[in-house]
Symmetry: C2
Subunit: 234 residues, 2 copies
């Protein structure tokens, strides 16, 4: 490698020693895909990316393989890579997954939350919601994901946490494409606060129920917007 590695824009995080090359490439590519800087369906060529990042094919291929197994890029053997397309069926299965995992995880969180968790969650619940600017919209999306992830973390099961993290990642892509952006009715902070209140009251059933409603409504809204925008079924 003969190029200085560009430092990953990492908000707040210390980033002491330079990240391992494949991890770094993975993170950057993933960010570009999730934020639709690399559009769904666009072609990815190893050589081109190597030149762009100033690395050889070996670490890059490791990153692409990882993205491939997470279904963010598609690799047709001996043919090439493409950024995974966005489909209605794919998004539906994602909503279904979230509906299965996050409500029970919230119920667990109601049982297992410490006072520190609750304080943290209360701080995460309120989101800055300013859809008039791109940056404001992006901040809102990240804040929303952070809240949901923080809930699952409170359930104290690392497997669940990883799963939801991955699901939220995939979830952000249609959102970033501004599908359903204008349809956003109101800031979901109110609903978030209700959920936190249920956790604080140790009301597992209520937490489960509120989370289910919350995810279902948001998912249906985006799904409708996607259908209206003409995304393919599969």
């Amino acid at each position: 490698m003969n190029l200085v590695r560009p430092s990953l824009v990492e908000l707040g995080s210390a980033e002491i020693r330079p990240t391992a090359l494949p991890d770094h490439l993975y993170a950057v590519l993933k960010q570009k895909i999730l934020s639709c800087v690399l559009l769904p369906g666009s072609r990815l060529v190893e050589k081109t990316l190597c030149d762009e990042f100033g690395v050889s094919r070996t670490p890059l291929r490791e990153a692409l393989n990882r993205l491939n197994h997470e279904e963010l890029v598609i690799l047709q053997p001996n043919a090439g890579y493409r950024v995974a397309p966005i489909t209605l069926a794919g998004f539906r299965s994602l909503i279904e997954l979230r509906l299965i995992i996050e409500p029970p995880a919230s119920a667990l969180a109601a049982v297992r939350a410490t006072p520190a968790d609750l304080a943290d969650l209360a701080a995460c619940a309120d989101l800055p919601y300013d859809p008039s600017h791109d940056q404001g919209f992006a901040d809102y999306c990240r804040g929303n994901a952070r809240f949901h992830l923080r809930i699952v973390r409170t359930a104290r099961n690392p497997r669940l946490e990883n799963l939801v993290m991955s699901a939220l990642d995939l979830y952000q892509r249609p959102t970033y494409l501004r599908v359903g952006r204008q349809l956003d009715p109101a800031n979901p902070s109110a609903r978030h606060r209700e959920i936190v209140a249920a956790l604080a009251a140790r009301d597992a059933d209520q937490a489960r129920h509120l989370m289910e409603q919350h995810i279902r409504r948001g998912g249906e809204r985006i799904l409708e917007a996607m259908a209206a925008a003409g995304y393919p079924e599969a």
Copy 2:
């Protein structure tokens, strides 16, 4: 590559064209790890494995990376690979995951099952249970996994299917170590048939409930045996 690739023992499956090298290595290593031919904690060295399989490091590393991300092997940077250890906490989180996913998936299956699904499931429900021989025990484990996977497939959500597949894989390892083998009370075929009956009756709630009981009991039994066998908490 100058060596004939050993064909993967694939029961029934056609295996038309030779599998891609990394996929093949991944499958073989995974099988060895899950069946505890490669014991938890044992060291894996790239060069050694390369010689053994007659391939170069590139495709092998791809397989190891995949296993690493699935938490079947652990890689400490610049130090080496080890087969992931088995811990009580890890297994507990796995049970919790199955308890969250499979019961709702069964409920979905009750709604979405076709007559063909039901026939298939009925055929999968009965397991050959002969714990007196190693082979009989292994067959039982595989049959059990196949049944649970067939249920989830009936839910018609590929994401759920992949998740449960991965969870069942990890689940088999403690079982293969014969932990809790002698404690096995009876063939679970009866419980499986009850679940299939609930699906056939389109009784989603009953299917969910039965599946939850089934997983909880099996999990607790293995967990107790693991604790008795002295597996570490973490």
